[in-house]
Amino acid sequence: MTDSNLLLVIDDEDAIRKLLQETLEILGYEVILCPDGTDGVEAFTAHRNRIKGVLLDMIMPTMSGPEAFQKIVELDADAKVVIMSGYSLEGEVDKLLKEGATGFLKKPFSIKDLKACIEFKRA
């Protein structure tokens, strides 16, 4: 766990990425934005020592959230990944949470929910 404030946001929705960047920067985080899982995993690979946590959307083109989660966990078993989703298939979120996802943000979530989720208090 680094002490950096770098968060990796992976979401295919432009507006959400930008709003999250703005919100997170207000909250004092540095943000790397990725439009899909593939980019996200690449970015995580490139910056994994600095990345404090990942905000990962579930439904995306090219590489879906769960796939990207797997890759990220493979790269860093201790990676802090918060799942974001407006809709997910049966039991998928539960599964990821069991496999080590740090939190779940149900869209539409508030800034308060977001803030609580990315504090990453040690378990």
């Binding site: 959400i16 407006g86 809709y87 149900k106 869209k107 539409p108 979530f109």
Partner: protein, 897 residues
């Protein structure tokens, strides 16, 4: 039983049966002698050998040998034993051989072992074992009898024929009578006791009875004929004797009429009878005058005058030689004898000199009647024959002088005759049967005068005795004669043979008839079994087909047949359906429709399918069926019956409905997923933007900031609502509720009830009736609560402010039923159909159209069912039927999809 012992028993039984039956058969003998019309023992021999094997032939041999010995052996003549044994053994051997031949022939031609059901085989069996096999002993037996001199060779053919016929009929009669009792297989033969054996026995008894009757009457007739012949003989003898008498009487008259009868006159007189003398056995006619001693000289002078040169009165001395008679007071010398030749020595013989003659003449004199001497050996006799002398006293009526007295005095007219000759003559000229035995006995002296004994001695003799008065004697005629009719004249024989043939033919026919019957029965049984199997098979199919199958009469349209499925559908037993019409079973308008369709199908002769027809049933309410009605046509093309096949599609329709609903749900699910994803993303953007706007309002006047915040809050609330809607939609679409847990539905209902009190107006009564004993369920309690609330809210809306809401539970089998009943406006039928369809709502913009759809999904998640009943303006009742959960039940009944 050891085989040896068994064989011994068979041999013994066979021997005894053969012997006894043979002996009995002899009672039926046709006269004369041994000839028997039927010989059942031959049949017994054959049957025993047939059924118990060749060893029975030994029994036949023993039985036959003993039987034949007992016939020919005469205990009075022990010397006949040896020949009887030989004859018996030969015939016995033939009988055994014949039975074996019958068996061999029957086997060779495949007639045995057999059930004998087909005519050709029965015929072969009968002919081979009867006429063919019986050639053996008829030839062997008669040959034996001829060789041993028991049968005249010229009678060989007759004897053979009667033997052969008797044995053949015996076999053909006895085999059908015995086999039904003894032969196997019993199921074939047992039935023939009444149909073959009994009729044969009856015909046989009747034949024997008729035979006996005719035979007796014939015997009587023959006896009468014989008696007639005997009487004729006797009459003839009597007539002959009256000739004897008349000759002597005529002489007597002649002597009376004449002063003196000279020797010549005597001779002349007698000669007129000359021709009659020999047939009557008359040897000599004599005249013996009574001569007193004092007249002796005059008498001797008279003798010389008559031509007797050396006449002297003689007598026999002790040595039997003729000597001059001693002087005595009276003499009765034979004076005339006709014919004289051969009788010369008798002339002068003094009848008084000998005791027997003296007694006779004295008796004759004292009685004045014709008197016979006992049997005599004659003075002049040479042969061994005995003779009789008939003596007629002659008393002179005119005696005036001594001389006259000498010349025509008292005396005796004598007639010497040989009864043997006379009787033989009489017999020979009669029509007595050749082999008649005749004895003639002088009863006074018990002397046999005549006898005729034929060469052959027969049994079964007819005896008759007659008496004839001959002078002072009574002669007894004893006739015995075999009862014999001229060949071919006996009706009884033909009756017997005819009857027996008839009996055996009847047996043959009855065997054939019963055989054919049995074969036919077997065939019928086989076919029936096959048919039953087929029928059973078809019945089974028809009974087990889950569709109603019925047949109606083409005219009356009354039910002829109704299968189980139909009976179960209508709730009426199949039997009760038969003969009923649709009007007996259904409401009039249904019956009218059915009947009209029936008629249409029958008239058009074309099958027709009637889709989705309503049928009222007893137990299941109104059901929907699809029926195929098929006209069944006669050969001439006339519709005779109507076949109906009806499928109860009520359940199918319901399932289709459910299935289409599920498909809708699936589609909605997919759609909802897409919508939720995009919508939530959109809402995320809006919310985040709004929040950022709030954060960016630094330096804006407070009033403005407050206004923006209020707007933002409103927007945030709307976002929450929209998000809730999406969540509901997703929950519904996924049908997914929380993790299944075991819980008591009653607790949930109590909780719901409390909540309901909060939002039901006071004008709506609320009743909770928890009757179920088993209320444990497995599933998501929260979703159940949601469902009940959903239904309750619907109920409230339906009652528009006033009414009664009743929530009740009860158990139905393994299910818990939760009923939500309201007294609202009800749900029209067309609405009921779409009730559980997502997005269908009657509440306009106030309804999501997902309430009942999600309730439906929740109930399904519990593996339960939901149904609705309603009458417009009266009530609506939803029933949720959920499987009760038992803790011990390992099956995870609440597992959700």
């Amino acid at each position: 039983m050891p085989i040896l012992l068994r064989r011994c028993v068979v041999i013994f039984v066979t021997a005894v049966a053969y012997f006894c039956v043979g002996k009995l058969s002899l009672l039926m003998a046709i006269p004369p002698g041994y000839s028997v019309p039927v010989w059942p023992a031959a049949g017994i021999a054959f049957v025993m050998v047939l059924l118990y094997g060749p060893s029975a032939a030994l029994g036949v041999f023993l039985g036959s040998t003993l039987m034949n010995m007992s016939v020919s052996y005469n205990p009075d003549h022990p010397e006949t034993f040896s020949s009887s044994l030989q004859v018996g053994a030969c015939i016995g051997f033939g009988a055994g051989l014949q039975a074996l031949a019958g068996l061999a022939l029957a086997r060779a031609r495949g007639c045995w072992p057999s059930r004998l059901v087909r005519f050709p085989r029965i015929m072969n069996f009968m002919i081979l074992s009867g006429p063919v096999a019986c050639l053996i002993n008829s030839i062997l037996g008669v040959t034996t009898l001829v060789v041993f001199g028991k049968v005249n060779p010229e009678n060989f053919f007759d004897q053979w024929r009667s033997w052969w016929v008797g044995d053949s009929i015996g076999v053909m009669l006895v085999a059908p009578m015995l086999l039904p009792f003894l032969a196997a297989p019993r199921e074939v033969w047992r039935g023939r006791i009444m149909t073959v054996a009994l009729p044969a026995a009856v015909i046989l008894s009747m034949t024997i009875w008729v035979f006996k009757w005719v035979s007796d009457s014939e015997t009587q007739l023959i006896q009468e004929q014989m008696e007639d012949e005997f009487s004729k003989v006797v009459d003839k003898v009597e007539e002959g004797f009256s000739h004897h008498v008349s000759i002597l009487t005529a002489l007597d008259s002649f002597f009376h009429a004449s002063e003196f009868v000279s020797k010549q006159e005597f001779s002349q007189f007698c000669n007129q009878f000359y021709n009659q003398l020999t047939p009557l056995g008359i040897k000599t006619i004599e005249w013996a005058p009574v001569v007193r001693h004092k007249d002796l000289d005059a008498f001797l002078a008279l003798a010389r005058e008559e031509g007797y040169d050396e006449f002297q009165i003689t007598e026999k001395n002790d040595a039997g030689d003729l000597v001059p008679a001693a002087a005595r007071e009276e003499y009765v010398p034979i004076f005339y004898a006709e014919p004289l030749v051969g009788n010369e020595s008798a002339i002068g013989y003094d009848l008084i000199s000998e005791a027997v003659r003296r007694e006779t003449i004295n008796k004759a004199w004292s009685t004045g009647e014709l008197t016979l001497t006992p049997r005599l050996k004659l003075v002049q006799g040479t042969g061994l024959r005995f003779a009789y002398i008939a003596v007629l006293p002659h008393e002179s009526r005119t005696r005036r002088t001594e001389e006259e007295q000498i010349r025509s005095g008292n005396g005796y007219l004598l007639m010497v005759f040989y009864p043997n000759l006379w009787l033989t003559n009489s017999m020979q000229n009669s029509e007595l049967p050749r082999d008649s035995e005749v004895h003639v006995i002088d009863e006074r002296y018990d002397e046999e005068l005549y006898e005729f004994v034929p060469v052959t001695i027969n049994a079964n003799l007819f005896r008759s005795t007659h008496s004839v008065q001959v002078g002072d004697r009574s002669w007894r005629f004893e006739f015995s004669c075999p009862l014999q009719a001229p060949p071919g004249s006996l009706r009884s024989e033909w009756i017997m043979i005819g009857g027996l043939l008839f009996a055996s033919l009847c047996s043959l026919l009855m065997m054939t008839a019963t055989g054919t019957l049995h074969a036919t029965r077997e065939l019928v049984a086989q076919r029936t079994a096959a048919l039953n199997e087929t029928t059973h098979f078809l019945d089974n199919i028809i009974e087990n087909i889950p569709h109603t199958i019925f047949v109606k009469d083409g005219k009356s349209l009354r039910y002829l047949s109704f299968n189980r499925a139909g009976s179960e559908l209508l709730g009426v037993p199949s039997e009760a359906m038969i003969g009923k019409s649709d009007y007996d079973l259904f409401p009039k308008e249904q019956a009218d429709a059915f009947t009209a369709k029936d008629r249409e199908v029958l008239d058009s002769r074309v099958p027709s399918v009637i889709e989705r027809e309503k049928v009222s049933t007893r137990d299941k309410g109104v059901r929907i069926v699809t029926t195929i009605k098929i006209p069944i046509l006669s050969e001439s093309g006339e519709p005779i019956q109507l076949l109906g096949i009806a499928e109860d599609i009520t359940e199918k329709l319901r399932l289709e409905e459910i299935s289409s609903r599920s498909e809708t749900l699936n589609a909605v699910g997919l759609l909802a997923g897409g919508i939720a994803h995009n919508l939530n993303n959109g809402l995320q953007v809006i919310r985040n933007s709004l929040e950022l706007i709030g954060l960016r309002l630094e330096g804006v006047p407070d009033e403005t900031k407050q206004r923006v915040d209020r707007l933002s809050e409103t927007a945030q609330d709307t976002i929450d609502n929209a998000s809730g809607l999406i969540r509901n939609l997703l929950e519904f679409a996924k049908g997914k509720i929380g993790e299944p847990v075991a819980f008591d539905a009653h607790n949930i209902l109590l909780k719901t009830s409390v909540m309901l009190r909060g939002f039901l107006p006071a004008s709506i009564q609320h009743e909770l009736s928890l009757q179920a004993e088993q209320s444990q369920l497995l599933g998501d309690p929260h979703s159940l609560e949601t469902s009940i609330l959903n239904l309750a809210v619907n109920a409230r809306d339906a009652m528009s402010g006033a009414g009664k809401l009743r929530i009740a539970t009860w158990n139905e089998e393994e299910y818990l039923v939760i009923s939500v009943h309201d007294t609202g406006k009800g749900i029209p039928e067309e609405v009921r159909k779409q009730l559980f369809t997502p997005f269908f709502t009657t509440k306009g913009k106030f309804g999501t159209g997902l309430g009942l759809a999600s309730t439906y999904g929740i109930v399904k998640a519990f593996s339960g069912e939901i149904s609705v009943q309603s009458t417009v303006n009266e009530y609506t009742e939803f029933q949720i039927k959920l499987p009760v959960y038992y803790e011990s039940d390992p099956a995870d009944k609440g597992q959700t999809q």
